[in-house]
Each structure stands twice: as structure tokens, then as C-alpha cells.
């Protein structure tokens, strides 16, 4: 229920109370007005229900929007992380590819060197074999020939060792190459997987954005509807105020007529201030003010709302006491406030207690200060909220300015 509807309800109730209790002498004259008021009240309640429904839908839309924005933000963050991861993987793949190229080059060079070494060895073997067959060297110097043959064996052994060394190096490089290729393949698979995840995230983000746009459209539609309803309520409030004024006027006339019929003239009741109430005021219960009076900005929905009263958080089932002496003017159900109790303190002063679970006094019953008038409902969280509104001369005033409340 919105603050506007609360104000309207309060006005309506005040008017009804005024009609029902303050002017019993002019009851006949006020009956027509009361009937009109009942009709207006019915229409107003209907409109309020619609407003509440729309407001609830809007609230839900706002929550959904917030959730959706949260999801979009989360997805954005995930996408950013994903992009960072992809970038890292890309860099890793680049580095691996670079290493791969280097190793491939090394393998190619080793293969070329291996081929050259093998060719050299074969040529050396041919030369050695030819020399052996032709009995190379000076036959008159057999020692030198023997030494040269020994050197040829040394040469061939060194060449063979060189070929074997290059072969081993090539095998090592090829192993390294295959390891790198495996690494690249694994990394590429990982990258493909992450890209897929990124694509999924992107599509989900896109979907969420579309949904958000739908929500935005819905929100705008609801806001428009709510605005329209509020305008209607305002008009209705205006009507109620007018009726209230008419009631007061009739009440004044009735008193005047009554005064004309009797010797003593009863002076008109002048509006009083809560501070001047006999016995003073006390807190309805021990609790903490969680919603303040006046214009308040709701960070959840990013809207500014006008509070006509305060909300006091207290333990579930806590007793609610009258803030001062008076008479119960109204005890009934009001849409959006649950069970509502209105205490008339006289002089145009009223205190309104909403969201009660049960009434412990009856309409018309006189109450004193700190008389327990009702009880807060139970809640799984163990905490409940009492709506408290104070009205003086048809105007809502800040309860914390006249009653000591924890804030």
C-alpha cells in the first residue's frame, strides 16, 4: 500500500468517525452525507485495491528489474573474466606457437644437419673404403699408412658419434615438439570450451537484456498506470477532504442549532496540539523506527515516497498501547493496513494504529494512556512492524516530534 492511499484512508476514517461520533445530534442530517461517504469509500477502496495491486506489480517489476540488472551485471562481470581468461589463453597459445615454431625450426635444422652428417659419413666411408681397396698411402711408408688408417677409423667413429648425437638431439626435439603440440591442442580445446562458455554467456546476457527491456517497458506501463491511479486517488482525497469539511460545517451548524435551543451556548471545539493533551503521550510499544515520516527516498526502487506516519519494528506479538487517553473511534480492516484502530483524542487529534493482529478494545470504548489496544502479528523472523500515524486538524504530523521513539 502506498503512502497516498494511507493518507486517503486516514482522511476517510476521520470523516467517518466525525460523522459517527462527534455529531450524534446531527445524525439525521449527516446520514445522507454518510451514505455518500460510504459510496465514496467503496469506490475509494476499490481504487485503492487497484492502486495497491498496481503498486505491488510495479514493486515486483522493480524487483525483477533489479534482479535482472544484477544478473546482467553478474554476467557482465563473468564475461569480463571470461574475456580476460580468453585473452590469457590466447597469449599462452601465442607463446606456445612461438615455442612450437622455434622447436620446429630446430628440428628442421637438426634434420638437415643429420642428413648432412649422414651424407658426410657415407662419403667418408666411401673414401675410406676406396682407400682401403686401393691401399691408399705410400706403400714404402707402411707405418704412416697404418697411422692414417687408424686416423680414418677415428674420423669415422667421430662422424658416427656426430650422427648419433644429432639423432639423439633430433629425437629429443621431436619429443619436445610433440609435447608442445599436445599442449597447444589442449590449450586450443580449452580456449574453444571457454569461447563456447563466453558465447553462452553472451547469449544469456542478450536474453537477459531483452528481458530487462521488457521489464523496463512493463515498469513504465505500470508507473503510468500508477500515476493515473494516484491522480484519481488525489482527486478522491480532495473529495473526502471536502466531505470532511462539510461534516465539520454541519457539526458546527448542529452545535449552533443546539445552542439556539438551549440557554447555554457550547463553544466550538478548537483544534489542539498533541503536546497539550492531558496526561501527555507515550510510545505505543518499545521498538525502533524503521520508516521515517515525510519524503523518503527508497534506494531499492529508486523512488521518493511521502510517508504520513512511521513504521516501528518490534518483536512479534508485542502489545500495542494507546499513546494517550481518548475514545476508540474506529476498529476495522483497511486494505493495505490490515487491522486498523483509530483513537480520537479530541480537539481534532487522532492516533492511527495499523497492521495489528487483534484488537483488545472495542469501538466507542474509552481508553487511557498506555491502555493495551491491540497486539502485533507473529512473524517467522520474530519481528513485526506497527504503523503509527498522528493527525492534528486533518494533517498528519511526525510522531517522533511528539513521542519519544527509538530511531
Amino acid at each position: 500500500m502506498t503512502r497516498g492511499s494511507r493518507r486517503l484512508l486516514s482522511a476517510l476514517l476521520v470523516a467517518a468517525v466525525s460523522l459517527g461520533f462527534l455529531l450524534p445530534a446531527a445524525a439525521q442530517a449527516a446520514r445522507d452525507v454518510a451514505g455518500e461517504l460510504r459510496k465514496e469509500r467503496g469506490r475509494l477502496l476499490e481504487m485503492k485495491e487497484r492502486e495497491e495491486k498496481t503498486a505491488l506489480e510495479l514493486t515486483e517489476a522493480l524487483r525483477e528489474e533489479k534482479r535482472s540488472k544484477g544478473r546482467v551485471g553478474e554476467m557482465q562481470a563473468r564475461l569480463t573474466r571470461q574475456r580476460s581468461l580468453l585473452s590469457r589463453i590466447d597469449r599462452k597459445i601465442s607463446a606456445l606457437n612461438k615455442r612450437l615454431e622455434g622447436t620446429e625450426k630446430a628440428v628442421r635444422e637438426l634434420e638437415a644437419a643429420h642428413g648432412q652428417a649422414r651424407t658426410d659419413l657415407q662419403r667418408a666411408e666411401v673414401v675410406a673404403f676406396a682407400g682401403q681397396r686401393a691401399e691408399a698411402g705410400d706403400p714404402w711408408y707402411p707405418s704412416a699408412r697404418e697411422r692414417e688408417r687408424h686416423f680414418m677409423r677415428v674420423y669415422l667413429a667421430a662422424d658416427a658419434e656426430g650422427v648419433a648425437r644429432i639423432t639423439r638431439a633430433r629425437e629429443r626435439k621431436e619429443e619436445e615438439l610433440s609435447g608442445l603440440e599436445r599442449q597447444v591442442a589442449v590449450t586450443e580445446r580449452k580456449m574453444a570450451r571457454e569461447k563456447k562458455v563466453g558465447d553462452t554467456l553472451l547469449s544469456r546476457q542478450e536474453e537477459e537484456r531483452r528481458r530487462l527491456a521488457d521489464i523496463e517497458r512493463e515498469k513504465k506501463r505500470k508507473e503510468k498506470e500508477l500515476k493515473s491511479l494516484r491522480a484519481k486517488i488525489a482527486r478522491m482525497e480532495s473529495v473526502v477532504s471536502r466531505v470532511e469539511r462539510q461534516v465539520k460545517e454541519r457539526e458546527r451548524r448542529a452545535r449552533k442549532a443546539a445552542a439556539g435551543g438551549s440557554a447555554a451556548r457550547e463553544p466550538a471545539e478548537t483544534p489542539r496540539r498533541f503536546a497539550s493533551l492531558s496526561g501527555g503521550l507515550s510510545a505505543p510499544l518499545a521498538g525502533k523506527v524503521v520508516t521515517r515520516f515525510g519524503r523518503q527516498h527508497d534506494t531499492t526502487f529508486d523512488v521518493t515516497i511521502e510517508n504520513r506516519g512511521v513504521e516501528i519494528e518490534a518483536p512479534s506479538g508485542a502489545s500495542v498501547m494507546s499513546v494517550g487517553q481518548g475514545e476508540v473511534a474506529f476498529a476495522g480492516t483497511v486494505s493495505g493496513f490490515g487491522n486498523v484502530l483509530i483513537v480520537q483524542h479530541g480537539g481534532g487529534l487522532f492516533s492511527v494504529y495499523g497492521r495489528l493482529e487483534a484488537f483488545l478494545v472495542k469501538q466507542g470504548e474509552t481508553v487511557k494512556k498506555r491502555t493495551v489496544v491491540g497486539r502485533l502479528p507473529g512473524s517467522p523472523s520474530g519481528k513485526s512492524v506497527l504503523y503509527l500515524e498522528l493527525r492534528a486538524g486533518g494533517t498528519a504530523i511526525d510522531p517522533t516530534s511528539v513521542i519519544p521513539l527509538d530511531s
Binding site: 682407400g131 691408399a136 698411402g137 697411422r147 674420423y155 667421430a158 662422424d159
Partner: protein
Amino acid sequence: MSGQPSLWWIDWRLSRAPLVRETIGRFLFLCLLGFALLSLLLSGGASRFLADRYAITAVLRAGVPAAEAEGLARKVAALPPVRSAAYRDPEAAWKEFLRAYPGLDPLRDAGGNPMPGYIEVRMRPDRLTGADVAFVGSALRSVSHVEQVLAGEEWLPRQLRAGRLASGACWGIFGAFLAGFFVVGRLQERARAVALAGDFAFLAERGVPSGRLAFFRAAGAAVSGFLLAATGTAAGGGALLLSLRTFPSLEGVIGPPSDLLLPRTVVAVALFACGAALLSAAASLLGWRAARSGRK
């Protein structure tokens, strides 16, 4: 007897011209023999030829410092059968290898030099025997720096045997020439004795004993043979010296000219001259006897 004429150089007085021819012939022959003798003495037959071409190669392990290798070479050179020992570093070995297999030069541009250093040990020609080679080889193998010893164990005995045969052949030929010298000398002595038979008969009639005549003739032949051999050998030595100076490569086969003046060479030449004197005397006596008996 004091009135009798001297029988020294009787042939020279009786037959001067033929004797001059024979003497010139003998001198030239002895020059040739002297040359051969000196060559054989210096070369030791085929020993110097073999020793000049034979070397023991001690292949060193990789990483042996040059200073240590050179020290080892000096120690090896001090062994009695060794004529010289020289260290060749890996670079020299590589160059030697490439000289033998020039086609392999470009094949190892990047491979570096795989050759080890080595010590080349050369034997004295007179100590080039299987036992001395084995001694030096075992001495080298006992050194830790030496990885392998190449001493030609497979072919050296064969070469030594061939060298011995060649030396024997050379000395045989020399002996044959010497025998030829003797035979020719005998024939010349006989021919001269026949030619001078009348003169010798006249002297015999005058009371000169034939034995005495033969002795003096033989003595004269011996003296002339000694002198001819000595001078001929000297001339041959001169020719050999000239040849060695002209063709230094011959030194590898024959030997250095300085060996000509070694005492053993001089003694050998003296013995040769004595031998030639004896052969000349024998040829003279045998020729005399043949002439007297009418044999050829």
C-alpha cells in the same frame, strides 16, 4: 845373393804396358766395389731403408697436455733402441690425415678436429728388430697417457724378413763381384806369367828360385792390391759422398755422409783393403802355378 837383381815389381820392369792397363782396370773395379762396400756398410743392407720408413705411433688420449706429451716423447727418445721420438699435436695429425684423404676436408667444417695427438717413435737402423720393437711398444703401452700403440705387428716381421733377405742379396752380390775380381786377377796373373815365362826361365837358369820369384810377384800384387783397394774405396767414398750431397733422398736408403768417417767404417775399409791385398796375392800365386803347370 847380394849381386842378384831385386825381384820387387819384376812384372812392372818386364811388362809395363799390360800391367798399367790391368792396374787401371783393377782400380776402377775396386772403386766400384769400394762404393758398394761403403753403401752396404752405411745402409746396413736394407736396415736403414726399413728403419727410415718404419715408425711406432703412440696414439695419445684426448686431453693430454702438449707439455706432458713432449716430456713423454723426450723420455721415449732416451730409450736405447730409439733413434728419435717426436710429439705431433692434434692439429698436425689432422693435417696429416687430410693430406692422405684430401676429399674429406670440406666434410668436417662444423665437426671440428677429431684427431688425437701422437708420438712418432723411430728406431735405430741397427736396432730395428722384433725384440726391440716389442720392448719399445710395451714401454709405451705402460704409459697412462697412451691410448694405443701402432707398431705394425702384422706386417713388420714380414718386412724384417724381406730386409734380411735383401741385405743378404746385396752382400752376396758384393761377394760375387769380389770373387769376380779374384778370378779376373788370377787370369791376368796367369796370362802375364805365361807371357813372361821366357824371362822367368832365364832367371831360373841364373839361379833365381822360382818360389822366390813367385813370392815377390805375389807380394807385389798384394801391395798393389791393398793400395788399389784403399784408394779405390776412398774414391768410391768420394763418389758416394758426392752422390749423397747431390741426391739427399739417398740418405734415407744409404745413410748420412757423416757415417763415412765413423771408426767402424774406416776399420771396415781397412779390412776390405787387406782382403783385396790377400785376394791379389792369391790370384798372383794361383796364376803363376797355372802358368807353370800349363793349365788355364
